[in-house]
């Protein structure tokens, strides 16, 4: 069969456009972050400066609270991701494998949590956490982020569980496993891609969250990266190089995590789509 090469070229060109559009803003961030201050304005629209420097990074790391922010963000995002994944694995399993009367009430409640502006919760949550000593604390942030991310993560995990045949659990039970052992030894290992996807998704979300981090935390000691960056931006609003260096550093962990898990995300949604 003879095929015209034109569609292939068009396809590759379109792909190229998308890649360029997706990466250009990030590239620009990188470019400004390594441009020496004296070249910033004279070479404003050049794609790459004639001279590069790591000074901005060095300054941010040495003369700002960024290492603290970084550490706080890693703690908060990692703990949130782990706790959410554990909770969502259990509840996603319940939604996937049991039919109980309240199931649809639970699903409706979880959908409702996706519908309203979270801003509305700031003051009430502050009032609830404050007497417990959980404001201005990383634990408080982890609790709040966990709750925010559990509904979506539950749906994600449910679609992964739906993709695993029930036969396997039944075979395990006949082989002598309790329901919980079948869940732990047979189902969970098969859901590893789903778990990876959920971990990555939640990590990225917790890493990025700004609003509640801003409202529940004051002072640098417990501030996370987004808050730090934002205060940095308002404090040093003239030094673009330093801001962008900080931005690049904020981006790296989330981007790494995402690159690792993005294909599982497609896989997980496919599993759900096949069933639905």
């Amino acid at each position: 069969m003879k095929r015209s090469i034109l569609p292939t070229i068009a396809h590759r060109l379109a792909i190229l456009c998308y890649v360029a559009f997706a990466l250009f803003p990030l590239f620009w961030l990188l470019k400004v972050s390594v441009t020496p201050n004296d070249l910033l304005y004279s070479e404003g629209v050049r794609l790459w400066p004639s001279r590069t420097t790591w000074d901005h990074y060095a300054f941010v790391l040495q003369h700002s609270a960024f290492p603290t922010f970084f550490k706080n963000s890693v703690i908060v995002a990692t703990s949130t991701a782990v706790v959410v994944t554990v909770c969502a694995s259990l509840s996603g399993y319940a939604l996937s494998r049991f039919s109980f009367r309240a199931k649809y009430v639970i699903i409706a409640l979880m959908l409702l949590t996706q519908m309203f502006p979270l801003v509305m919760l700031v003051a009430p949550i502050f009032k609830i956490l404050s007497p417990l000593g959980l404001t201005n604390s990383l634990t408080g942030l982890v609790i709040v982020y966990t709750a925010f991310n559990v509904p979506f993560a539950t749906f994600l995990m449910q679609s992964f569980f739906d993709g695993i045949p029930k036969d396997l659990e039944e075979a395990a039970m006949i082989d002598g496993a309790t329901k919980f052992i079948a869940f732990r030894q047979i189902i969970l290992p098969l859901t590893l891609p789903g778990i990876a996807a959920t971990l990555g998704f939640v990590f990225t979300a917790a890493w990025s969250e700004l609003l509640f981090a801003l409202m529940l935390i004051n002072g640098n000691a417990a501030a996370t990266f987004p808050v730090g960056l934002l205060t940095f931006v308002s404090k040093f609003s003239v030094d673009f190089g330093q801001m962008m260096a900080a931005g690049i550093m904020a981006l790296i962990p989330a981007a790494l995590f995402f690159l690792l898990i993005q294909r599982y995300l497609v896989q997980g949604l496919t599993a759900g789509a096949v069933k639905g």
Binding site: P165, D167, L168, M173, I174, G176, T178, I181
Partner: protein, 352 residues
């Protein structure tokens, strides 16, 4: 090994009833085949014995002990699934040893049991592979191996061969039979394929609409089907049925032909009945003495020939080993030997 008793077993989902009081006594070491069309309740019955479905009413006893409320893991039974249900993340050896490992059996004993089962099934070279790297037939063998490794009280098979191609199915069928001969294990086997049922079973349980229709040896079901359903389900090609009226020791077909019966059933004259005869029992005669029929279609199977006839406008099948049948004209005549006739009354029960 153990016997299994099932008493007045019922299953319903809400208001939908799928099993209506099943009674069954399975002897120690017996090979029982549950057969019937899809939706007849045979798989539900098997899953209830396994403990995968709750019992709505009635009782199941394994080795004399009531197991209604026992978790599957405590029933000491093994099951081969239609999908095989092999654990994808475990090797063949791990799949086979999983049940023993859960029971915390000593490592050496596990290794011995696995290698014994593997050599019995010819799985030795595959022990370190994952299910993904196996062919359909090999997966089926692993599923069997996983079951026999444990020496359970009973084996349950849920249509284990239906995902295999015809040749492999035949081969595995023979192997299952041979294995049962060796192990003498109580086995319950669910299938919709009557050939599997006939070849494997010590006793067949024919089910339809959640009710047991007949229990008996394969030949009993073939020779003396208890009702129209069993008569039609067992045998291939299926039995021919003709509407008729009873009249003093003989039946009169719709076209007026009178056929004498060997035994006299307890029927009132004039009662409407159904006459059954298997295609392989119909005799083709060339002397014009039988009933006239038109040949509509000739299907040679190699082994024999299936003739599709029209008998006074009704479809009718004949199976014959005579190759001469290929050259019959469009008109033939057929005769029904009286010893092969089956007679069913208006409530579809066998009367002769």
């Amino acid at each position: 090994m153990a016997s299994i008793q099932i008493e007045k077993l019922e299953k319903s989902y809400g208001h939908v009833s799928v099993l209506h009081g099943v009674d069954l006594n399975i002897e120690d070491g017996e090979f029982i085949v549950l057969v019937g069309p899809s939706g007849c309740g045979k798989s539900t019955l098997l899953r209830m014995i396994a403990g995968l479905e709750d019992v709505s009413r009635g009782e199941i006893r394994i080795a004399g002990n009531r197991v209604n409320d026992l978790h599957p893991k405590d029933r000491d039974i093994a099951m081969v699934f239609q999908s095989y249900a092999l654990y994808p993340h475990m090797t063949v050896a791990q799949n086979m040893s999983y049940s023993l490992r859960l029971r915390k059996i000593a490592k050496e004993k596990i290794a011995a049991a696995v290698s014994a089962a593997a050599s019995k099934l010819g799985l030795d070279p595959l022990l370190e592979r994952r299910p993904k790297a196996l062919s359909g037939g090999q997966r089926q063998r692993v599923a069997m191996g996983r079951a026999i490794v444990r020496q359970p009280k009973a084996f349950l098979f849920d249509e284990p061969l239906s995902n295999l191609d015809a040749r492999l199915r035949e081969q595995m069928r023979a192997e299952i039979k041979k294995m049962h001969g060796d192990l003498k294990a109580t086995s319950i086997y669910v299938t919709h394929d009557q050939i599997e049922a006939m070849t494997l079973a010590d006793r067949i349980v024919a089910m339809h609409g959640g009710v047991v229709q007949q229990v008996g040896s394969p030949l009993e079901l073939y020779d003396r089907p208890a009702n129209l359903f069993v008569a039609g389900f067992i045998g291939s090609p299926g039995m021919n049925f003709l509407a008729a009226t009873y009249s003093a020791g003989s039946v009169i077909l719709a076209n007026g032909t009178r056929i004498a019966l060997e035994t006299v059933p307890a029927l009132a004259p004039g009662e409407s009945v159904t006459l059954g005869i298997r295609p392989e029992h119909v005799v083709v005669v060339n002397d014009g003495s039988g009933m006239q029929a038109t040949v509509e279609l000739v299907e040679p199977t190699g082994f024999g020939i299936i003739l599709h006839l029209s008998l006074h406008g009704l479809p009718f099948k004949v199976f014959t080993l005579d190759r001469g049948a290929l050259n019959y004209g469009s008109q033939i005549s057929v005769r029904f030997p009286s010893q092969y006739l089956h007679l069913f009354d208006s409530s579809e029960e066998r009367v002769a």
